[in-house]
Amino acid sequence: MELFKHSDFDFLGKKWWFINLSLILTAAGFISLAVKGGPRYGIDFRGGALITVSFANRPPVDKVRAALSGKLPVEVEEVSGRPEDIIGIDALQDSALQASRQKVIDSLDAAFGQPANGKYNINAGGAAALADRLRDALAAASLPMSDQQLQTLASNIMDYRKQHSGLIKNLDELASVPAVTPQVLNVIKQQTYPDSVAVVGTETVGPKIGAELQRKAILAVLYALGGMLVYIAFRFEWIYGAAAVIAVFHDTLITIGLFSLFNKEITLTVVAALLTLVGYSMNDTIVTFDRIRENLKILRREELETLINKSVNQTLSRTVLTSGLTLLTALALFIFGGQVLNGFAFALVCGIIVGTYSSVFVASPILIFWHNFLEGRKRNTRGAAPARREPVAPVALKAKATPAAGKDRPQRGSTAKVK
């Protein structure tokens, strides 16, 4: 089975169509960013708190918002398909952050929880505290337990809670837990109650650390781009490095724009994904450039545009296959990966699509534009001073010798092929 046997699409003939599309996408992203006042940073970068709350009977998200409104600047986000809501608190001063977090938890408990009536909330706290609470009551009910037994009982119950999204809905569920006999269950019922709200995860990042993480992430991206530019310039020609970096920059810009358009948050994991897409898009561009470099040695008489078109066509089935297959894994991650990986997978899906297309429609045209620019300049200088030969033009777009194919290639002839 083969996808493209003898493909001969005129990709570069239609380059303006795609360049315009790129410009439109970039512009849309920029407008969205401008309107929304920059990217929507997650609390990793912005500083703030994030509380993940699990409900026994999940109330409509509007009610959760209503319960918290007026108290603090909070955002509530629904986690689809799960019993959780995520509540974000904006950056405040470090000390106030801890207090506001407690306030949110208390307000939620007041609105959706049950009154304690002197009982112990089995959905909060850990095994040690639970064991503590049950010790005397069990002894009073003439079911005395050794500390060892008590610990086992309490951790069994905690394990059960862990396996059920961090929330015990009804104490009768515990009958299935090892070491919980009907008598013990009675004591548990006397002493504890299952609150219908439980905090299953919290994150707090001080604004100072957030700002530093943001600075570090941007630096990491810039240094990574610089490093790749140098490597490609070393392996090919500096214009190849520049073209590849521009293409990758274009991909990152469009992806960040899409994040803004879809109102998604940029978190640390998303930054990891952005860097992945930088690597991926670079990978794709290098494969195409590699073919161009190889063809420059074989097809010396071809026009550069025809040669690049041929190279793109030759690598087309690998491009489609690889992109398709990686897109498949990224899509799997996007669909089944859950809430935590959602932003990451979204960035990958966008990045793979944009990254594949930018190798053909952004990176390659830059080579042609540069070539045409040099040609034009050469013609101009020749017109002005026909007797002088400019040393600039012959350097353009020569491919460096590569260990495998370069041996049989005469160095001097390398200038002829692009003319």
């Binding site: 000390s95 995860g201 240094y223 860097l275 494969v287 498949l328 894994t329 991650l333």
Partner: protein
Amino acid sequence: MTSNIKIRIGIIIAVILVCLYGVIGVPKSKDELLANWKKNIHLGLDLSGGTQLVMQVQLQDAFKADADNAIESLKQELQKDGITPSGDITRNDPATIEDADKIEIYIKGIPSDKTGQFRGVVNNQFSAWVATALNSSDYKLTLKPSESLKLKQDTLTQTMATIERKINALGLAESSVQQTGRSDAEAELLIQLPGVDDPAHVKQLIQTQAQLEWDQVQDGPFASREEALAKKGGILPLNTKLVPTATRGGQAAWYLVSRIPVVRGTDIRDASAAAGELNRWETNFVLTQDAAKKFGAYTEANINQRAAIVVDGIVISAPTIQSKISDTGRITGAANQEEAADLALNLRAGSLPAALTIEEERTVGPSLGADSIREGFEAGIAGVVAVVLFMLVYYKRSGINATLALILNAVILIAALAYFDATLTLPGIAGIILTIGMAVDSNVLIFERIREELRAGKAVVAAVDAGFSKAFLTIIDTHVTTVVSCAFLFIFGTGPVKGFAVTLVIGLVANLFTAVFVSRTIFDAELSGKRQVAVLSI
């Protein structure tokens, strides 16, 4: 089959065995296999559940305490030498970590005929400090830079050791305390507590400074600070301080106590919680020998006087001394067993030399972590199954070749993580999934190249050879570029980004081995011995 191919197959099998050993050891049963897997693969906090804290050590606390100690002994030394300053000895109050080493002690009114003697005392007994004359009778002491550096390091080491003792006492396995290592934030500690089920409690326990003092009560209790001040004519008597009691729902009372405690937390040798009279929980402590002597003399002299037990600036109880006590004491007033046990734990662990503030906190409930594992795993499996199916359909028998390389890649990657003791986090899993994508790319590149060569009319063996060698260049370029970007991620990135970079680099190296070496060997093994192979299933 040539001996060259045999050697290559031998290498591959050896690599597989070493990898499998690293991951699962030599299991004799299914349980042992699972146990070894759990032992070798470390899951990060985001997967196993747990808490990660970034805390700032408020170094200025330690500097202030150091200055206070210096002031006390300076007073004694000056007295001993017959120097009586006409003014008081005070210090400034640095408020931030950055200002900690700007601590200064001011001595006012040194008689002019004692100047030389005073300088002698400072130089001999307080060599950590430098005295500068402010005018003819007043002096300023500043800490030497080398001493302030030492004090900073000591404070950090002591803080880390104390936190470690607290964590260990709670029985939290695999926890760690380390400096974050950010160059501009030396006073930051990273505390990782995997698998903790009650993060709020642990956080509170770590943050408790547990600075215990046994103070002599001078006066009180008063209903408020204002009342106490009013009774003393607006100014506190020399060497006293006002401390509030714990509120516990009601109003706090205030005690006027001696500024210098009789016994400090550092004098405590052991502490434990026990049920006392009327089944009330209390914390018993045992003093060191030196402290016991001092304490014995003090209690003997102060029978029927009140004392205040102050923990972190709050009076826990104010008992009346009934008889001479030498080396043991007890602190009553705990609300329940947990509180008494926490206090005992904190006293045993020792006090923190400086307060801790929380800069960053991430708690992943164990259930959330478990769900993340399941979902990430499902996504990974779904992705891989789809890719493998496609490869088998598209490349037929060569697809099997690619699939074997892919599986081996994953095995090597996981084994490398186990050997390096690396921690597997969520971004790490994403890195694995991405590695699989790059591995597929390498195979596709090679196979497409072989197909091209076949189409150009080359014989099978020559086509495989040309395909591999041409694709190899491209693969090297793409891989090295990604490794370069990973290096920058590792150097400049933080936590999760770093983990991602590590996994990806390991994956890429494994991929070079599997896609180029293993895949080639399988092809060669298939083709060897048959001089004329007409068709290649690709």
